[in-house]
């Protein structure tokens, strides 16, 4: 920590307590919310996205599971994490998080089960690996009924679960950002910010779905469909636009009023210059590329590099947004007379290595989940 002298005062008298892990947590939550929303869009509105339903569901699970990791690592006493369930307190945002999180997890698992039930029944009968077959047998719960009627009922239940999950995911997102906002300095301490962040998150989820679609179609040797890409990219575009517009409107308003928040922005933007530049330039670039991708896809052409660049850019931009809020909000002293700087340590529980491990965790879990619940026909993979 370095202290900085501003106008003769030696401030601050505080530290950055929320490090890079607390940046990753809302980031994961954003991605989950985005993916769940894409799933809901597929379920309720855009029938052409039915193809990626299974893909989206199985890839949400690793993110939901990993969302706990950064929080656990950030706790001073991780062994006491379970206490949050023993001493529920409804005035605590953290406690609300626990309940919403469990709702999200259970609806996702339920959705997965109903979505894969037919596959599970089939694989319980045909799988050659004994251990896997046993797993599938247990998962059938002893019912092998895959008649038309049963499947119809499954679909209805999936719709209900998706509705609940969507609400839970949005709450999770909103609560997570509210959590940050209440402690934040005037720049981010606004009503509009959580909303803008939810939109940013939706864009990130869309981008993640696009990337995973590229990866999975490649791994399973499946032909990519331009209309799927263009639909998802289109949604990502508008979500990104909404997030960008809301933040920009907010900032312009501050600049016009020249109130205290503007002073904070002027102070903080020197310290946050790089992530802010990434956020603004990246947003514009991502918007441009996404529109281009949509345009090309509508012509029936798929430009893989452009899709990849646009998606990665969105993911980076949204990470930068989370960084700016979580870290940025702590850089300025509450007295507004000075700021600290934050460089995450390399090692240790809250260091960069740990953060990298957390970021990679879902991608380590994903192949395992995909192996047990293949989103596309498994035999196609053999040909690769």
């Amino acid at each position: 920590m370095t202290t900085t002298v501003v106008e003769g005062f030696v401030y601050p008298n505080h530290e950055v307590f929320w490090g890079v892990l607390i940046v990753i947590y809302p980031y994961f939550v954003s991605i989950i919310t985005g993916m769940v929303t894409v799933y809901a869009i597929a379920e309720f509105w855009r029938k052409e996205l039915k193809d990626i339903e299974k893909l989206v569901v199985i890839s949400s699970l690793p993110f939901v599971l990993s969302a706990l990791l950064p929080l656990l690592l950030d706790l001073g006493q991780p062994q006491r994490a379970f206490e949050i369930y023993l001493t529920p307190n409804f005035s605590s945002v953290m406690a609300v998080f626990g309940i919403v999180y469990l709702t999200e997890l259970f609806t996702l698992l339920g959705e997965m089960w109903f979505l894969f039930r037919v596959d599970i029944v089939r694989m319980a009968q045909t799988e050659s690996n004994k251990l896997l077959r046993l797993l599938y047998r247990i998962l059938t719960l002893g019912v092998y009924d895959i008649s038309e009627k049963a499947i119809k009922l499954d679909k209805k239940i999936i719709k209900i679960l998706t509705g609940i999950e969507l609400i839970a995911a949005w709450c999770l997102s909103y609560v997570s950002f509210l959590f940050g906002v209440v402690k934040s300095n005037p720049w981010w301490n606004t009503t509009i910010l959580p909303v803008s962040f939810v939109f940013g998150g939706l864009a990130a989820g869309g981008a993640m779905v696009l990337l995973l679609y590229l990866a999975f179609t490649r791994a399973y040797g499946i032909e990519r469909k331009p209309n799927i890409i263009s639909t998802v990219a289109n949604y990502a575009f508008y979500f990104m636009l909404a997030a960008f517009a809301l933040e920009t409107i907010n900032t312009i308003l501050y600049a016009y009023k020249e109130d205290i928040a503007w002073a904070v922005i002027k102070l903080a933007s020197t310290e946050l210059a790089v992530p802010l530049a990434i956020q603004v330039i990246g947003s514009l670039e991502a918007l441009l590329f996404l529109k281009y991708v949509c345009y090309r896809c509508n012509l029936g052409k798929i430009d893989t590099p452009f899709i990849a660049i646009a998606s990665v850019t969105i993911l980076v931009v949204v990470f930068a947004m989370r960084w700016n809020m979580v870290i940025g909000a702590q850089l300025i002293d509450y007295s507004l007379r000075g700021f600290v700087s934050y460089t995450p340590p390399l090692w240790g529980r809250e260091g960069l290595i740990a953060a990298l491990g957390v970021l990679v965790a879902p991608f380590i879990m994903l192949p395992v989940v995909a192996y047990i619940f293949p989103p596309y026909e498994r035999k196609l993979r053999a040909g690769l």
Partner: protein, 155 residues
């Protein structure tokens, strides 16, 4: 439909198990969780929940005035009056309670002194003299090897 009913049963069972676990752990008391988990991690009584501290907390606190100590510890009292550690003896030794029937705390570890003499967020460094280089000051020796706790300066 059969499969939906079964799924519901599984889900409800999971919920029941969760609730039973929560109430079970709660019923066993803090001596079990988080105390056992704490012990496994080698954490002791942060947040005042170690068994020993719990016992102390339960006892009624009974403090005496500073002059009370001078009745029997005349020498230490006079010595301390002349130095900078001339504040209440009970700051360091804990509340008098039934002393001398009950023994008082005597802590001569480095951590104890550093609790006041290390830089702390939120306290300005003039209030109590701060050792900026506390790791190396009298390294590996207890502070009382050189400083008299009751008269810390050397005159």
């Amino acid at each position: 439909m059969k499969h939906v009913r079964r799924a519901l049963v599984v889900f409800i069972n999971i919920l029941i198990i969760l609730i039973v676990v929560i109430f079970g752990i709660k019923g066993l008391g803090e001596e079990v969780y988080p105390a056992i988990a704490d012990k496994l991690f080698g954490v002791e009584g942060i947040y005042g929940t170690s068994g020993e501290q719990k016992e102390i907390i339960k006892k009624p606190v009974h403090a005496e005035g500073r002059e009370y100590c001078s009745k029997c510890h005349e020498e230490i009292y006079r010595k301390s009056d002349q130095g900078k550690h001339n504040f209440d003896c009970q700051t360091c030794h804990g509340a008098a309670s039934d002393h001398p029937k009950m023994r008082l705390k005597v802590d001569s570890s480095r951590e104890f002194c550093l609790g006041c003499h290390k830089a702390t967020i939120g306290r300005d460094n003039e209030t109590i003299r701060v050792l900026h280089n506390w790791e190396n000051h009298g390294k590996d020796r207890v502070c009382t090897a050189c400083h008299d706790p009751h008269h810390p300066w050397f005159d």
